[in-house]
């Protein structure tokens, strides 16, 4: 082993010439020393890798898992309520009795029994589908990747809500899609503006491939598309010939137990529906799924086989056993009650400590979307928040165009109500300090020169990793 700090590519120890050149550069041997970029493959990356850069903001999240810090930044579900003993016993039995299958390769489309159970889960949201229409994936994140992979060429447009899920924006960016945002209000994406957006893009000669929507308890917006708007949105997409990508990880986590019909139910041929067990059961299994029109589904299966051969058989069978033997709906109900209590703590604390901000009051899910008092920049403020031992995700992470600095996403899924109240209290101190600073330096008005130069580079990855509390 050489020291890992030497600029040799760890993955290609046998490329002698590159390694030697890198060593020579590092050692400064030779008459005219060549500089090193510490990455001998810097010139080799595909264009789509150029946006894969960690930002300074991302480094700040490193402290957020420390117990001194109240993290309102992560998206980890609260798993302590799960019946771990029961799950442990059933997994042990699974391996003991069906281990040879569970630990073997499985079908590229996913375990048939699980696909049948997924149909039952989706029935709660009005999706009528056949098990053959379902493709099981490694989390719905992989389904997002596969759908984008089979539809999006570089330069194609994906229309997404403003704001939108940061993980989806990362996928779209990696396929070099152009993301165009269309605004949301308290009833979800605004149909009239969506219509205008699609028309404008058509007129501009753009190819719009996907309309990406999170219809229920939006991440980060916290809102849901109203019942009245759902058919209109599906109809608009259909009229413009745009496939809807419906991402629905939170649909069953409505605090009043109400579930609205999936967009898919209005037009099964025009929608690819994505579901997940990550929020209703456990993200560690990494099991999600896509429901797609049959021709699309065929391609998804082949694309998935090309990417991963098959989803984890062990995970699928464990989930299948859980669904068959545990009161999973009772568990989801428990989660809903737990998250409702935390939502209440969040909005209560915001009203008490941050009356100068405004926020959405989510009827389900994990997040509230907070608009800061005028002139504040959530991204610029984050280091100060970390010093005050509270973390959040700046709004810029949820836009592909660098906007969103006036918002932040606060999550209430993982911290306890007491922690949430304490976190918001700390945040209020940070906001007050920041307002003070904005007043002093005149950066508080939208048209000040100082705020005009404020822009986020949409290239950098600003969201925390998935393992953040």
């Amino acid at each position: 082993m050489t020291e890992n700090l030497s600029p040799q590519p760890a993955t290609s120890p046998t490329t002698a010439s590159a390694a030697a050149a890198a060593r020579a550069a590092a050692a400064g041997s030779g008459a005219a020393p060549a500089g090193t970029r510490l990455d001998p493959w810097f010139g080799s990356y595909a264009d789509r890798a150029h946006g894969m850069r960690a930002s300074e903001i991302r480094a700040l999240f490193a402290v957020a898992n420390r117990p001194e810090v109240v993290s309102l930044a992560g998206g980890m579900p609260y798993l302590k309520g799960l019946p771990l003993d029961t799950i442990a016993a059933s997994v042990a039995e699974l391996v003991a009795t069906r281990g040879a299958t569970a630990l073997q390769y499985g079908s590229g489309q996913g375990d048939e029994t699980l696909r049948e159970q997924i149909i039952e889960v989706m029935r709660l949201e009005g999706v009528a589908a056949h098990p053959d229409d379902v493709v099981v994936t490694t989390g719905s994140q992989q389904a997002l990747d596969l759908v984008t992979r089979i539809f999006v060429d570089p330069g194609d447009v994906v229309v997404a809500e403003a704001p939108s899920y940061v993980g989806a924006l990362g996928v779209f960016r990696s396929y070099q899609a152009e993301v165009v945002h269309s605004p949301i209000d308290e009833h979800g994406i605004v149909p009239e503006i969506l219509e205008e957006t699609l028309t404008r893009l058509e007129t501009a000669g753009k190819t719009v491939k996907l309309l990406y929507l999170i219809p229920n308890f939006h991440n980060p917006g916290g809102v849901s598309i109203s019942l009245e708007r759902r058919p209109r949105i599906v109809e608009i997409a259909q009229r413009h010939g745009v496939l809807v990508l419906e991402d629905n990880p939170y649909g069953l986590l409505g605090f009043d137990g109400e579930t609205l019909p999936a967009l898919q139910s209005y037009h099964p041929d025009g929608v690819v529906y994505l579901g997940s067990f990550s929020k209703t059961f456990a993200p560690g299994y990494r099991v999600g799924w896509a429901v797609a029109p049959h021709a699309v589904r065929e391609k998804l299966v082949l694309a998935s086989e090309a990417a991963i051969l098959c989803p984890s058989n062990a995970s699928q069978m464990a989930i299948s056993t859980y669904l068959a033997t545990c009161d999973w709906q009772g568990q989801v109900k428990q989660f809903r009650e737990l998250y409702r209590e935390r939502r209440d703590a969040m909005v209560g604390a915001l009203a008490e400590h941050l009356p100068s901000a405004s926020w959405t009051v989510p009827a389900g899910g994990f997040y509230t979307w907070v608009r800061l008092p005028e002139g504040l920049d959530a991204k610029a403020m984050l280091p100060r928040a970390v010093t005050a031992r509270v973390a959040y995700v700046p709004g810029t992470a949820f836009y592909a165009d660098g906007s969103g600095a006036d918002h932040m996403r606060l999550s209430f899924c993982y911290p306890t109500p007491e922690q949430i109240r304490e976190g918001v209290r700390r945040l209020a101190g940070v906001v007050s300090n920041e307002l003070d600073l904005a007043t002093i330096f005149g950066t508080g008005t939208a048209d000040s020169p100082a705020s005009q130069s404020r822009r986020s580079s949409p290239e950098d990855v600003e969201a925390p990793g998935p393992d953040l509390a």
Binding site: E3, G28, T36, F42, A54, A59, I440, T443
Partner: protein, 323 residues
Amino acid sequence: MTPPSSSRTSNDLRVVVLAGGLSHERDVSVRSGRRVADALRSTGVDVVVHDVDADLVPTLQELRPDVVWPLLHGATGEDGSVREILELLRLPYVGTGPRSSRVAWNKEIAKGVVAAAGIATPDSVTLQQDLFRELGAGSVMDAIVDRIGVPLVVKPSRGGSALGVSIVDRPGDLARALVASYAYGDTALVERAIVGTEVAVSIVETEAGPTALPAVEIVTDGPYDYDARYNPGRSQYFAPARLDGDVTERVATAAVTAFRALGLRHLGRVDLIVDDDGVPHFLETNVAPGMTETSLFPQAVLASGTTLAGVYRDVVERAARTV
């Protein structure tokens, strides 16, 4: 496999590497800690990596390591407070003592000490956030621009990894740069930007005293900010720096002079900028330089023709002998 630095029996050496902490640079510190731990382990040292948390003091008391290596960047790691605790526990540790750390950590005070030792350093002013509230930002900013001129650099007076650092080319951007700096701490250092070659000189103490390793020259497209430091590719490094022989000598001497003047111990890094006349200007120093895969200190070690494991090992042994 890098051979152990020597045949000395050292398998019984126990080192606790402190990495993490609650500073803005936690991420960098954790990575530095892992790198150093791996290198030391390859020489047979028994290494435990530990965060700075409530368990630390009891753990240190129980383990009684031969040496503690604080690889904490920012805040308590570099301001001397953790080192104070190590003194209290009578544990040998790598690096500068608490008092000198505090001096080095404060860029303004460090500049004063180094200037008094005859090394050039860019003209600067240090400004508390509160001052602007009391005097009004406009007049103070005008005075800054009059005195320092543009381009200028604004950075937190304490802190590293270029967090909160901005280069200001137009007076109108000063307010934003100050706000960015104050996000990381309530004191900002505003410094004249010197056009020249940016170099980092890593220093290791040997029997012969503080010894400068080959200077590493940094060339970036844009500022050498956090992104340029920790995402490989945007920065190009030349080790040794492309300087004339006498300038190389001058740079090494300036760095060693700064190291001595600041009372640094065992190792450190001195960041300088060399102007077009070949004069080195002191910018800042690090008592706990970064040790990640893109950091400057490890590059300097490799450029000197030695190995990281060997140098780290020597540093640890020197620290073990320091009482």
